[in-house]
């Protein structure tokens, strides 16, 4: 039955109209992803009406291709102008921009594209083969498990604190505190809004992200008089990684794709969190930990393969259970409903033609993204030849329209600017901003899931240890914290020593 449906979907995806739709979706996704402030979710919502006149499979395939391509597109601005095009590309800035500054913008983008391609491909294969099984895993994730995921995310803050751990933790804690602003979903009360209506929804994470990364970058480009001939990089380096580099990156990409798929499954966690998890794990398993943040390919491959792998992961609960895995898939479910298809567990059986065409569309969209991505990226690298003094005000213009576009609010633009000035101050004082970004992402998730869990358990904290998934994740989080202490390093050294002795014996 599944083979028949796969063949049906494969047959349908090769119809010329569907191929055209996938290509169009990919190009739009690349453009949207590359523009700070425009997200895949927004683009899917805006283009949804365009699909009314199309066949269901065609329209939904186009939107899915857009979602996938936008995940890669976000890395283009992240690498070239230190401004993540999408929140899922925030971790790519950490190594991507320094690599571009070192004259290897092409290589950085090429590694990003390759990793995105492989991550997306692996997740679409997972979607194709084990979607129903993975769907069952989704049902195991409730508030208790989501809290454990948040705690694990918090422990990453320390490892993201390049240089001074104290300053990094300070930045992360500030991010967590700011994330508390807005309505508390558990009690329904506004917190720390001080009567400002615009703060009732909290501080939009994307606004803070644009401000913290882009505005300081624009100011840095003009703060000193530099030689007019100095550009960020030249268009001379090879784009795609060599076979040797790819073999070196393969374990990293495989692990990061796995992290992306699983994170995509978790409701509420998407590319924004997956990219940081993957970056952290890549750093943990790397033999050159100290080089992370200086512009190495490992630090680009990890978040990029994870954020594209999220696409397939997020589609699993959507298709298998009718539960959206992310905000983008929630809008995609709207697309199903607009075409008269009610999402639910019967999607893969009663509407197999549409569902399996979608699954194949996500698979082939990776190849289209690779092709268009190579051409588009080669053009984009020319941005690095634009003089700093021209680029700086253009970055500000894009930031302002990007911040405004999120909620059509000038208040958000003001907030973006405030975060921007804070980010510049922190950069000058060597207080890292990635931990603040992570604090902003995880704050609400941590607080909300904690309270929901305590409501379920009547106030007992033991609930976090009775759930096997939660207990496992908390153990990993605890080890993450201990590992960087002298005691932890001694234990690691002992374990590694025992293994080595057993091997030689």
């Amino acid at each position: 039955m599944m083979i028949d449906n796969l063949l049906l979907g494969l047959n349908m995806v090769f119809l010329p109209v569907n191929i055209l739709a996938i290509c169009a979706g990919t190009v739009i996704g690349l453009l949207v992803g590359a523009m700070p402030g425009l997200s895949a979710t927004m683009a899917i919502a805006l283009l949804l009406p365009l699909t009314f006149g199309m066949n269901a499979a065609t329209g939904i395939s186009m939107l899915a291709a857009l979602y996938l391509a936008a995940m890669y597109g976000g890395s283009i601005a992240a690498i070239l102008i230190r401004t993540p095009g999408t929140p899922a590309a925030a971790a790519t800035v950490v190594d991507g921009y320094p690599m571009a500054q070192a004259g290897k913008a092409g290589k950085a983008l090429g590694v990003s594209l390759t990793a995105s391609f492989v991550g997306g491909l692996l997740s679409s294969i997972a979607l194709m083969t084990i979607a129903p099984t993975l769907g069952m895993l989704v049902l195991e994730f409730g508030p208790v498990e989501v809290f454990a995921v948040s705690v694990l995310g918090i422990t990453i803050i320390a490892s993201l604190s390049q240089g001074s751990t104290i300053r990094g933790l300070f930045s992360g804690m500030l991010g967590l505190l700011i994330a508390m602003v807005g309505m508390d979903l558990t009690t329904g009360t506004p917190r720390f809004t001080f009567g400002v209506v615009d703060l009732f929804d909290g501080i939009p994470f994307t606004v803070a992200l644009i401000g913290l990364f882009s505005v300081p970058q624009a100011i840095r480009l003009i703060e000193k008089e530099v030689d007019a001939a100095t550009f960020i990089s030249k268009v001379s380096d090879r784009m795609l990684p060599t076979w040797k580099e790819f073999k070196y990156l393969w374990p990293n990409i495989l692990r990061s794709s796995g992290i992306g798929i699983v994170t995509g499954l978790v409701p509420g966690a998407g590319g924004d969190t997956a990219c940081w998890f993957a970056y952290n794990e890549a750093k943990r398993f790397s033999k050159i930990k100290e080089k992370f943040g200086t512009g190495i390919i490992d630090g680009i491959a990890a978040p990029e393969s994870a954020n594209n792998a999220v696409v397939g992961g997020a589609l699993v609960p959507t298709i298998a259970l009718g539960i959206p895995g992310s905000s983008s898939t929630a809008v995609l479910m709207g697309a199903f409903m607009v075409h008269g298809i009610l999402p639910g567990p019967n999607l893969m059986t009663e509407h197999a033609d549409v569902t399996y065409t979608l699954i194949w569309a996500v698979f082939f969209a990776n190849f289209v993204m690779l092709g268009f991505g190579l051409a588009f990226t080669r053009l984009c690298v020319y941005v690095t030849q634009v003089p700093n003094k021209v680029l700086a005000p253009v970055i500000i213009v894009l930031c302002i329209i990007g911040a405004f576009a999120i909620n059509n609010s000038v208040f958000d633009v003001g907030m973006m600017l405030a975060f921007g000035l804070l980010g510049y101050l922190f950069d000058r004082l060597r207080i890292p901003t990635p931990p603040m970004v992570l604090g902003l992402i995880l704050g609400k998730m941590l607080d909300g899931s904690l309270h929901q869990s305590l409501l379920i358990s009547d106030g007992s904290y033991m609930i976090f240890f009775t759930s096997p998934i939660s207990a496992g994740l908390l153990a990993v989080a605890a080890w993450s914290l201990i590992q960087n202490t002298p005691v932890g390093k001694k234990i690691s050294g002992t374990i590694i020593g025992v293994f080595k002795r057993k091997q030689t014996d």
Binding site: L46, I166, L177, M180, F192, V394, I400, G414, R430, H451
Partner: protein, 155 residues
């Protein structure tokens, strides 16, 4: 001095938030209270760290890599203060005038003004780029994506 400013501001924010939690339900107040207390502790720890580096001098700084070292030199050292001040002021004015005047008027004025001030390019190139950017934004955001943009006096 800047570290004291950052630490004091963060601590003040934490205190304000902590005091605000006194009027909230317990469930809504727990997590923010804990975070506020931790923030004040970390602010103090950051100041102690900076103080220790300052006391240890060059030897202390040499023991760690550059990213770990605090910025102990004067804050504006190595940068053109006037240029930064003018740029930031221009951005603030841009944001303030965005809604009343409109994006498609303020944007070319901002970009042209900054290009001329920084002597980024020839005036005719500055004029072309200053017009081209909002035109591109118009076609992408307004015409294609149908997103509202503050029109101001043109609206």
């Amino acid at each position: 001095m800047p570290y004291y400013l950052v630490a004091a501001s963060a601590s003040a924010l934490a205190v304000v938030f902590f005091l605000a939690t006194l009027k909230m339900q317990e469930a809504a107040a727990e997590t923010p209270r804990l975070i506020a207390v931790l923030l004040v502790c970390l602010a103090a720890a950051m100041l102690i760290e900076v103080h220790l580096y300052r006391r240890g001098g060059a030897a202390a700084m040499a023991r760690v890599d550059e990213a770990a070292r605090p910025h102990l030199a004067p804050f504006f050292e190595g940068i053109d203060i006037r240029r930064v001040f003018v740029f930031v002021t221009a951005i603030i004015l841009y944001v303030v005038l965005l809604e009343p005047v409109g994006y498609f008027i303020v944007t070319p004025l901002f970009t042209f003004g900054i290009f001329v001030y920084l002597r980024a390019c020839r005036p005719w190139v500055a004029a072309i780029v200053s017009v081209a950017v909002p035109v591109f934004i118009y076609f992408l955001f307004v015409a294609f994506l149908d997103l509202p943009v503050p029109m101001g006096v043109l609206g």
